[in-house]
């Protein structure tokens, strides 16, 4: 009684061995073939089905290797006892979450003043492509393998040189870790500092994505107010924080520069309590009066500052390339425990950026974009003066990718942000940057107009329109 009935389809759509395998497997899983039942020998089944022995053997081999059948020496093949009801239970998985995650926006955006956009029309794409293809050609085999976990040494050298010259950062290439975005680098950093529920002082309003990373990693967030002097040092001293996350060169989102006096006090706070300061230097490349402000790290002689930077705005958002500079004590921890994290960025891309920097294209691109953005920046402020003069105050410094405006006399219960969005004007509100776990007595009527991706005509039209929507 070791015959079995198999229905095979001989139109050539599936190989016969595969059909035999599938049929027997399903009969076992559905308990049609019971445990420990003998199944036909290879010889018998091949004769019955009129197929070659080889075909049946291949199917049996697979059933055997996957554990559906077992063999007894000099006896043959038997059905394995799977002894389980798992297969027979119904699927209980909620399908709720598995729905298309594509955002649908019911408003048509006519003017997009939101951040995360850059002027891509002026990116030197043909040079970029040339260099990328050159890399693929020249570097040959080696470029296809894993590189160094911290990132390519050549690229790190270029970054260290740039940081030294342009940002006053004290570092060598050995201290630099390359990563795809600051959130990833913060993950690594927190694993070096420890995941024991530390308290971190965080600017409020501040960069929400970074705040959320610390929350996910179990850090306690102590929200500290910011004003034109940067993070409030009194509040900081009263906190229990073991580290602080700050954006001193261009506060995110308000755009203030932390004065050097406050910077030195901040470093004193860190040095005296062996605390750390994470300096996120996003956007530092774009100042429109004078040179960039040197980094906070420049003032640190005690290894308390972790410096972070990005190419997102100085190259392209899609080039996922950020970096951090570790002080010596953290670098030691990194090298011992974290170098199992392979590098995240493809070597071809790293090599392309390296050559793009080395051959001077990056600095040239930066200079060019600084001019273009300065013009747009000035123009945006002019338009605001022209159309909203008495209604808003411009905050922040001559830097960055957006102009920050505060409403002078906001009307209670008027939702300015929604009003703009509903009228096709997309922009970011400072509210998005506030710690949502805090309560606030008043609304913050502060909005950001990012000008980078818009033409001058669009900027004027948009601001004129916004003024009408908000104040008429």
């Amino acid at each position: 009684m070791n015959e079995i009935i198999l229905q095979l389809n001989r139109d050539g759509s599936d190989p016969i061995y595969l059909q035999i395998y599938e049929e027997i497997k399903n009969q076992i899983l559905n308990d049609i073939l019971h445990p420990d039942r003998k199944i036909p020998s290879v010889r018998l089944l091949s004769t019955n089905l009129g197929v070659s022995r080889n075909t049946v053997e291949t199917a049996y081999e697979r059933l055997l290797s996957e554990g559906y059948i077992y063999s007894k020496a000099r006896s043959g093949y038997y059905v394995q006892d799977l002894a389980t009801d798992v297969m027979r239970e119904k699927e209980q998985v909620t399908k709720k979450a598995i729905t298309s995650e594509i955002e649908t926006n019911s408003f048509v955006t006519r003017f997009d003043f939101r951040g995360n956009r850059v002027d891509t029309t002026n990116f030197p794409l043909s040079i970029w492509k040339k260099i990328m293809n050159q890399c693929l050609k020249d570097q040959g085999d080696e470029l296809f393998y894993f590189g160094q976990p911290q990132g390519e040494l050549g690229l790190r050298k270029e970054i260290a040189d740039y940081l030294h010259q342009a940002r006053g950062v004290r570092c060598t290439e050995e201290q630099i870790i390359i990563g795809p975005h600051s959130q990833y680098l913060l993950n690594l950093l927190c694993q070096m500092i420890g995941l024991n529920g530390q308290t971190i002082a965080f600017e409020n309003p501040g960069y929400y994505a970074a705040r959320q990373v610390f929350r996910l990693l179990g850090y306690q967030i102590e929200s500290i107010a910011v004003d034109k002097n940067g993070i409030n040092l009194d509040q900081l001293h009263q906190s229990n924080a073991a580290l602080a996350y700050v954006t001193p060169s261009h506060q995110i989102p308000l755009g203030y520069i932390m004065p050097v006096q406050q910077r030195l006090k901040l470093i004193e706070w860190a040095v005296s309590g062996e605390r750390y300061i994470i300096e996120d230097d996003l956007n530092s490349e774009f100042r429109y009066s004078g040179d960039p402000i040197p980094a906070l790290q420049h003032l640190d002689h005690h290894g308390r500052v972790i410096y972070m930077g990005t190419f997102f705005k100085s190259l392209l958002p899609s080039i996922r390339l950020n970096y951090m500079v570790l002080p010596a004590n953290l670098l030691e921890i990194y090298q011992v425990h974290l170098s199992i994290y392979q590098q995240t960025t493809s070597r071809v891309l790293q090599k392309t950026v390296e050559l793009f920097m080395k051959e001077g294209y990056w600095i040239r691109h930066l200079r060019r974009m600084r001019k273009i953005y300065k013009k747009k920046f000035d123009w945006t402020r002019e338009c605001i003066q022209k159309y909203m003069k008495d209604d808003v105050t411009i905050l922040g410094d001559n830097a960055g990718h957006h102009v920050v405006v505060q409403l002078n006399e906001p009307k209670a219960n008027k939702d300015y942000h929604s009003l703009a969005m509903e009228n096709g004007i997309a922009l970011d509100s400072v509210t998005q940057f506030l710690d949502e776990n805090q309560t606030y007595e008043n609304d913050f009527h502060i909005y950001m107009l990012c000008f980078t991706a818009l033409s001058e005509e669009k900027i004027e039209e948009g601001i004129k329109e916004l003024s009408k929507v908000w104040f008429d």
Copy 2:
């Protein structure tokens, strides 16, 4: 008494305004210019130095914006009181860690049998470059912006189709998260599951890099033995583990396939205790007899299995592209809390892989590599039979990128691994994959010969040489 002495260098090397700024800044920092001292007016200094007012103004503006000086209305500029000793303390940072991290290998490697290498000579580089350039050209502007945090929808569709057909994985593209390597994806996953010191059951020997990630994230590791049936289920049941990390299709490093009976029991363990199973399906593409074994996830109807895969061996190591498939409950947590993690992989690269798959190049490349690797695999086994027949036993299945050999009669106190390395034969030892926090009664004399990047001549030469070194 508000004159100051500045030494300017007029050879044109640095702009004059910058020199003025630097000199005054340094005099303030070094306490040569004392707090609240008045500094010369713009008019006076420009006359004294014989430079334009504009030049001095630019320098003062910068000193002002950085907080080194302050201004009093109708009076002039004064030195800010920085009130700090931080600048004057000596640098105490240990430079120990900041030394070149480049590995120096004192042995010349003549035969490299280590993993992490692939056959790059057969990679269709010209097609790849063509597609990449096409992507840069066609996709235009949009490709330069941030994409979806989970990864490009088109690429996820291709992956979902492939996983469904080739691996039997039940999923839609909405469940797929793209990342640069499995360590990163495990970081995300642990943040979904929780960082409260959970216990994870981990194969021993097992994939050390993943084990270390869990340790860094505060997970307790419960090491569970593996044999030809996969992870030991009795030990698993006795553990307190809330989740398990397994490699059922091709155990890392031993190469065993977990039989379906054990797979179903493993799933029962997860379902009954609402536990999770992380299935790392590395290398599943390369089986040399029969088709690939369907994934464990295929048998899971309860949303307990997280499936992980990689393109590292099926494309190139330098293409940093991995993915995981989340069950619905974890996907919901991801969408609510973790979508602040931007995508790590550049959109151009994602789009290139998408088109490479869509146009059939990937499947063609896989088929081709499977043939090439099968030939090398068989040849490696033949050579082992020929030169080491009685000295070793070959373990594992007809799959993967290496052949695993166990020494039949290892001599005590003989360090086989070092012996090979010293003689220019680099290879991986199973010892590298053992939990280093456990103690072991006996040494594991199991070694892996990865053949992918070597020619047949090199394979034979290397094994012949190894046999001499080990057994003569």
